[in-house]
């Protein structure tokens, strides 16, 4: 009898534990009323101290004007996509979170994020750069507001240019000439990585496309091959090399360690150079032009989870963090370019030398290729690597192999 009652107690304890787990969450929501303070969880990846400070200041500013809404940061320190997906499956994701533009199509298609239109002022939305906003739109609905962006530009070592007597290149021909002249004494003219995110601008500049209007593969074209071919011809001629072969971690590192005279990177170079190459005298220029201008834009938006209990409050948070006040703080921090046109001026006035990055946005397409973004990028990376490793010498053939693999 004693043992039986003991068993009962144990069973009761275990079941109550299990019930306790489930009950907690539903309780907070039921006891919620409009007047009470609500807590909005804001999901983000971990970033540099400077960026953390910026977001902390933005949140402090928000809480000043919105006493009823409390923002709780949830920083993902592991692989962001992996953790976020697991949370989404368990319906425990944050109410508002960062979403990179290249994952946006899958999230929109699977309807895990909500359209924001009903909370937005249509006039105000026009202030956002259309190119960026389009990355978070489907069927005319807006699913995310971009928080900031970066484009690619040409970063070059001013001293090396001066010494070699080279002007900043503005066309492909000039780029090739400059790279040729600058390649000497163990320094490469330009560092280029085997990375679709760096050579796609050349495909655009040659008049090529990655996807056509209907979202079908369109990179197996003469024009795209011309862009890719030009990029890898710089390797073949010996004016360019990969960061790996130069013994550095990435393109920016090659500039910081003066192993290359030019590199193609974005605004994230600026804080990096301050730290890794404070003595390097570098400049920023627009990407050279092929048949026309072309570039990629990288952007991240705030999106709203479909599982949020507080849609109104979450929308307030998103609107504030992408609003003029918060965007002004982004502009002044100089970490990235504010996504609002009205704030771009604040940015370029404070940091005139970074204007080329802002100028490139009009020629840019966002780094996003539909629901299959990842697969397309993998195949394009392989197409590039085949050329660099000499497995295939014809850029068009290499692109065709990639296109075939995607069928």
């Amino acid at each position: 009898m004693k043992k039986l009652s003991l068993l009962l107690v144990v069973l009761l304890l275990t079941t109550s534990l299990l019930v306790g787990c489930g009950g907690g969450a539903s309780e907070d929501t039921s006891s919620e009323s409009k007047e009470e303070t609500v807590t909005i969880k804001l999901g983000m990846w971990s970033s540099s101290p400077a960026e953390t400070e910026l977001i902390d200041n933005q949140i402090a500013e928000f809480e000043k004007t919105h006493p009823n809404i409390n923002i709780e940061k949830e920083v993902y320190t592991d692989d962001y996509m992996q953790q976020l997906q697991a949370n989404i499956a368990a319906k425990t994701e944050p109410d508002v979170y960062y979403l990179d533009v290249y994952q946006a199509p899958a999230f929109i298609e699977k309807e895990v994020i909500l359209p924001l239109d009903e909370y937005l002022d249509q006039e105000d939305v026009k202030d956002f750069e259309e190119n960026l906003l389009n990355g978070f739109m489907k069927d005319g609905k807006i699913y995310g507001l971009p928080k900031d962006y970066n484009t690619l530009a040409l970063f070059y070592n001013k001293d090396m240019f001066e010494e070699a007597g080279v002007e900043v290149p503005t066309t492909w021909q000039e780029l090739e000439k400059a790279a040729k002249k600058l390649t000497k004494d163990g320094v490469k003219g330009i560092v280029l990585s085997n990375d679709a995110a760096r050579f796609i601008p050349f495909i655009y500049q040659a008049g090529g496309k990655v996807l056509d209007k209907n979202g079908n593969i369109a990179f197996d074209s003469e024009a795209a091959a011309k862009g890719l071919g030009f990029y890898y011809s710089l390797f073949e001629k010996g004016y360019a090399d990969t960061p790996q072969n130069l013994g550095v971690g990435w393109n920016g590192d090659a500039l910081a360690q003066e192993k290359a005279a030019m590199c193609i990177e974005g605004g994230w170079m600026i804080p990096f150079m301050k730290q890794a190459g404070p003595d390097v005298n570098y400049g920023i220029a627009k990407l050279p032009k092929g048949e026309k201008h072309g570039d990629l834009a990288f952007t991240v938006a705030y999106v709203m989870s479909k599982n949020t209990e507080h849609k109104e409050a979450a929308a307030e948070v998103i609107k504030f963090l992408t609003g003029k006040k918060a965007q002004k703080m982004v502009a002044e921090s100089g970490l990235a370019i504010p996504s609002r046109k009205s704030m771009a001026k604040v940015f370029t006035e404070k940091y005139p030398e970074r204007k080329p990055l802002v100028d490139m946005v009009q020629y840019s397409k966002v780094y996003q290729f539909g629901v299959k973004s990842q697969k397309i990028i993998d195949e394009l990376n392989n197409a590039g690597q085949r050329l660099q490793k000499g497995v295939e010498n014809d850029p068009l053939k290499s692109l065709k192999i990639a296109a075939d693999n995607l069928k």
Binding site: K3, L7, V10, T14, D79, M81, Q82, Q85, A86, I88, A89, K91, A106, F107, K110, V112, N194, T242, Q244, N245, L246, G247, K372, Q374, K375, D378, N381, N382, Q385, R386, K389, V391, N405
Partner: protein
């Protein structure tokens, strides 16, 4: 367990009640309850964290599912199409080929070296404790740290290239070469896991009674003959165990490939392994159903390979 029940019965005897069928049954039931109660924490955690997920993953492998889809129950059944897709998928086939080459390269090499090291540190040389520790250290080092260290050794201005540079060889980025990246990972795996297998061999060696060697040496057997006719046969269960564990580990290679290739299995899929591909499918390409199918294909492969090994080593080892 049976010995316990005997004492119970004896206790009952002492109280004067006869060991009737009834009390015997009661004692047995009570014992079963006690047993389950004691193992309850493990049973629950195994059900929740191991068997449950296993069943879910198995079901998912027949569904079109991504974590973004929400409920698993609503996901569409697609029959065997995830499995069929895997066999048609050139990248998966490449991953399977890479993993197999890796296993063939790593498993025998690492076991032979580990056995040799175990024999060395089991002999009566001076400073054997130091060697035991030294060989074991790589095992307890994080694989990611090891991978990064290897990248430093092999990068274009790394130690190896600096050394080769003394002989006038041009610097080379070893892990960026489609033919060398995988062997590099193999080398890394062998180096970092030898210690573990060495320790297990060492335990096996110490179980072999000295009297066997004494008898053999009296009979005039050489050291080599002792190794072939005493050590190896006596070590058979340990060898079997190490072989199984090492092969399973080899087929599950992930971390090193992830770090060396920056998560994409490059250059040109030359370091794409089955688990890395599974990870990419599940988390980068939102295709958890397909990822689960790949996981079960891998499970079947490992299972068959283990059965084959058991056939070869099985009779005497009784695992």
């Amino acid at each position: 367990m049976p010995s316990l029940s005997k004492t119970e019965i004896q206790k009952n005897d002492m109280k004067g009640k006869g060991p009737t069928q009834n009390t015997f049954k009661k004692a047995k039931i009570r014992e079963a309850i006690d047993g389950w109660l004691f193992s309850l924490p493990f049973v629950i955690s195994a059900l929740v964290f191991f068997i449950g997920p296993l069943i879910v993953a198995f079901l998912l492998s027949f569904k079109q599912y991504s974590f973004l889809d929400g409920s698993i129950l609503d996901a569409e059944w697609v029959g065997f199409s995830n499995y069929i897709r895997a066999f048609k998928d050139p990248v998966f086939r490449k991953a399977l080929l890479n993993t197999t080459i890796y296993a063939i390269g790593v498993v025998p090499t690492q076991l032979v070296i580990a056995l040799a090291l175990a024999l060395v540190v089991n002999s009566k040389i001076k400073g054997k404790t130091f060697f035991r520790t030294a060989y074991y250290i790589p095992t307890i080092t994080s694989t990611v740290a090891v991978a990064i260290m290897f990248m430093f050794l092999f990068k274009s201005d790394g130690v190896l290239n600096k050394f080769l540079g003394l002989f006038g060889v041009n610097p080379y980025t070893w892990y960026d070469n489609i033919y060398l990246a995988l062997p590099l990972i193999m080398l890394m795996a062998i180096w970092s896991s030898i210690g573990l297998y060495m320790i297990i061999f060492l335990a096996g060696l110490q179980d072999i009674p000295d009297s066997l060697y004494e008898a053999a040496s009296i009979d005039g057997a050489s050291k080599w003959q002792q190794l072939i006719y005493i050590t190896i046969p006596m070590l058979k269960p340990t060898i079997f165990f190490n072989l199984v564990v090492s092969l399973i580990g080899a087929y599950q290679i992930f971390d090193q490939a992830y770090v060396i290739s920056d998560g994409n299995g490059g250059p040109l899929n030359s370091t794409m392994t089955v688990v890395l591909y599974l990870y990419k499918m599940g988390f980068d390409e939102f295709d958890m159903g397909y990822a689960c199918a790949i996981g079960f294909i891998l499970f079947v492969i490992i299972f068959i390979l283990t059965l084959i090994q058991k056939k070869f080593f099985g009779e005497e080892t009784k695992m």
